[in-house]
């Protein structure tokens, strides 16, 4: 579990948020430049209209506004980067406030200097000269405007990040819900396979014509299996006796269905039925063995449960076709077991697949138990 990367968690990390903003900028910079120019042109147009009574060369207001907007656009990524380092909502609040006031002043100095340089340069190119006016007064005029601009940019950066986090959180919640219901469904269906149920009913419907008492026993055993499947018990560990109750019922059903073809042996050490074992761990192993041990319609299956000190050992052997391919490819049931064991007893369990001579397979499981 620890090795899998969670895409949602990754999307939430600030580093990747920043990276995705950069990726957007790198991919869409022509759009960014276009928007900047449009904004500058719009502001310039506004300025021209506002000054219509005075006599100015109409290109000058465009230069004033464009120079301002271009420098602003160039500085926005730096503001966003600075905000990422010292978030507006970070604590202590005074630190964030002071840092961003300093940031705003620095922004204003760079912004004003940059735009004045551009204006001087363009004026010079047009054979004119640009006069910024009274430097402290003009600079103060720009500063009060830049403070508002700076904090607006901060607000937008903050809002975008919040929106992303919320959306990622929703996605994650949806994914978790889906995984949970899938796990529940798998859990339920894993307990009683439809094939198993309907074939057993068919066998009972035949058996009752031969031996009513035997058919009766089968119905009651099937009832026990169904009850176990519908139990809304989510406990992870159950007494071994309950696992064996399921196993004996299942074995009896299979022995009826494959009468004279299947030998099913269960061998359990005495006095260990109260030990706590993982719920329904034996079932997929046994079902898998039945599926492979019965390939030619005949076979035997042996389940041993032994206690060695504080370790419990399950050994399930059959005389089927052995282990074709990788053992875990033999069924999702077995890979589920390996995952469950890893979660329940990290580094304290064993799960081994082997071959028997001349034919067949052995699956053995060992895990710690406490009384």
């Amino acid at each position: 579990m620890a090795t899998t990367t969670d895409p949602v968690a990754t999307a939430l990390s600030p580093a990747s948020d920043h990276a995705s903003a950069w990726r957007w900028l790198r991919a869409s910079w022509p759009l960014y430049v276009l928007l900047t120019l449009l904004l500058g042109a719009y502001q310039g147009l506004n300025h021209v209209i506002g000054l219509r009574s005075t006599h100015f060369a109409p290109w000058k207001p465009f230069i004033w506004e464009l120079s301002s907007v271009i420098v602003l656009a160039a500085l926005i990524p730096f503001i966003a980067g600075f905000e990422r380092r010292i978030r507006v909502d970070s604590r202590p609040r005074t630190r964030a406030l002071l840092a961003h006031i300093a940031g705003a002043v620095a922004f204003s100095i760079v912004h004003t200097t940059g735009m004045v340089l551009i204006r001087k340069l363009t004026y010079a190119l047009a054979g004119d000269s640009y006069d910024f006016g009274n430097v402290p007064v003009e600079w103060f005029y720009e500063l009060q405007k830049d403070l508002i601009t700076y904090f607006s940019v901060l607000l937008v950066v903050f809002a975008i990040r919040e929106f992303r986090i919320r959306r990622a959180g929703e996605l994650r919640a949806q994914e978790l819900a889906a995984q949970l219901s899938e796990a529940r469904l798998r859990h339920l269906t894993a307990q009683i396979e439809p094939h198993f149920l309907f074939n057993t009913l068919n066998a009972i419907s035949n058996r009752m014509h031969e031996d009513v008492d035997a058919a009766d026993r089968m119905i009651s055993q099937l009832g026990d299996l169904l009850r176990a499947a519908y139990e809304s018990d989510d406990s992870v560990l159950v007494p071994l006796g309950r696992e064996l109750g399921w196993l004996r019922g299942y074995a009896a059903m299979m022995a009826e269905r494959f009468r004279g073809q299947l030998a099913f042996e269960i061998d359990v050490d005495a006095g260990i039925e109260t030990l706590r074992v993982p719920r329904l761990l034996l079932q997929p192993i046994v079902e898998n063995a039945i599926r492979h041990g019965l390939q030619d319609g005949h076979g035997w299956l042996r389940v041993e449960v032994r206690r060695h000190g504080n370790q419990l050992h399950y050994t399930v052997s059959d005389d089927g076709v052995g282990l074709p391919g990788k053992p875990l490819e033999r069924g999702t049931g077995l890979s589920n077991i390996s995952r469950r064991l890893e979660l329940l007893f990290p580094n304290h369990h064993e799960l081994a697949f082997g071959s028997r001579e001349p034919r067949g397979a052995v699956v053995s499981v060992a895990f710690p138990v406490s009384t």
Partner: protein, 255 residues
């Protein structure tokens, strides 16, 4: 005269139940039982039954493997039995094939027997065979259709591209393969030969004729509800009522 039956199921109680039901019928008799694919194929070769009760799940194998193994033998009428197999049941319904869902009672068994009697009374079951062929094409995990087919003529052998085949017809112990205006004779039965072809591209339109879908130009109604199929090369084939029902809906809609 009674119809011979083979029962294939890997579970003895399931076989016992069918044996008991069939024993009550005067006109059917069980000639063999089998629990595995190999036993089933051997039993079918030995007894060539009229009817086959075939379980879909045979251990880790499938009843469809039995049908694959049947190729060259005379095909029995198949009644599929299954406990639970979603895709198979859908496919049975689509092809209007008879099947029994386990557990079934005597009434359901007898209803299926009525349909079986009616089908056996027909002289020609090739349309049912065709339904089975199309069924197999819909089951996931079946072998893919061939791209090329080996043709042995008296003086040479060569591969014929399936794309070139326009129609295939039965002719005694041979099949005539019409490809690009030429006719090749191959020693095979029609059922066995067309098992290699994609069932969605090649339609059986008659017990003796199989045609590529897009080689059909026109359908003309004839007497008694029968039709005449006009092919792109101008040749005509008769199409019986039973086969008309097997045509894809898109073609039937043109009538």
């Amino acid at each position: 005269m009674s119809y011979s039956v083979v029962i294939v199921d890997d579970e003895p109680p399931a076989r016992a139940k069918l044996v008991r039901f069939i024993a009550e019928l005067p006109d059917f008799r069980v000639v063999a039982e089998a629990g595995t694919v190999e036993e089933a194929i051997a039993a079918l070769r030995n007894t060539t039954p009229d009817v086959l009760y075939l379980d879909i799940q045979l251990g880790s194998h499938s009843g469809f493997d039995v049908v694959d193994g049947l190729k060259a033998t005379a095909a029995p009428l198949i009644i599929f039995t299954t406990a639970y197999s979603e895709y198979a049941v859908k496919a049975f319904e689509l092809q209007a094939l008879d099947y029994l869902l386990k557990p079934f009672d005597r009434d359901r068994f007898l209803r299926s027997i009525e349909r079986t009697r009616a089908a056996l009374a027909e002289p020609d079951h090739s349309d049912v065979e065709e339904r089975v062929r199309r069924l197999l094409a819909q089951i996931p995990g079946r072998p893919a259709a061939a791209n090329q087919i080996l043709v042995r003529e008296s003086d040479r052998a060569f591969f014929l591209s399936v794309e070139a085949i326009q129609r295939v017809s039965a002719a005694g112990n041979y099949v005539e393969v019409h490809a690009n205006g030429k006719v090749h004779l191959i020693r095979d039965t029609l059922s066995s030969f067309i098992a290699q072809l994609d069932a969605s591209e090649f339609l059986r339109v008659h017990r003796s004729h199989v045609v590529r879908v897009n080689f059909i130009a026109e359908l003309r109604p004839m007497f008694h509800g029968d039709y005449e199929l006009v092919l792109r090369d101008g040749q005509t084939l008769s199409l019986s009522r039973r086969y008309k029902a097997l045509l894809p809906a898109a073609i039937r809609a043109r009538l």
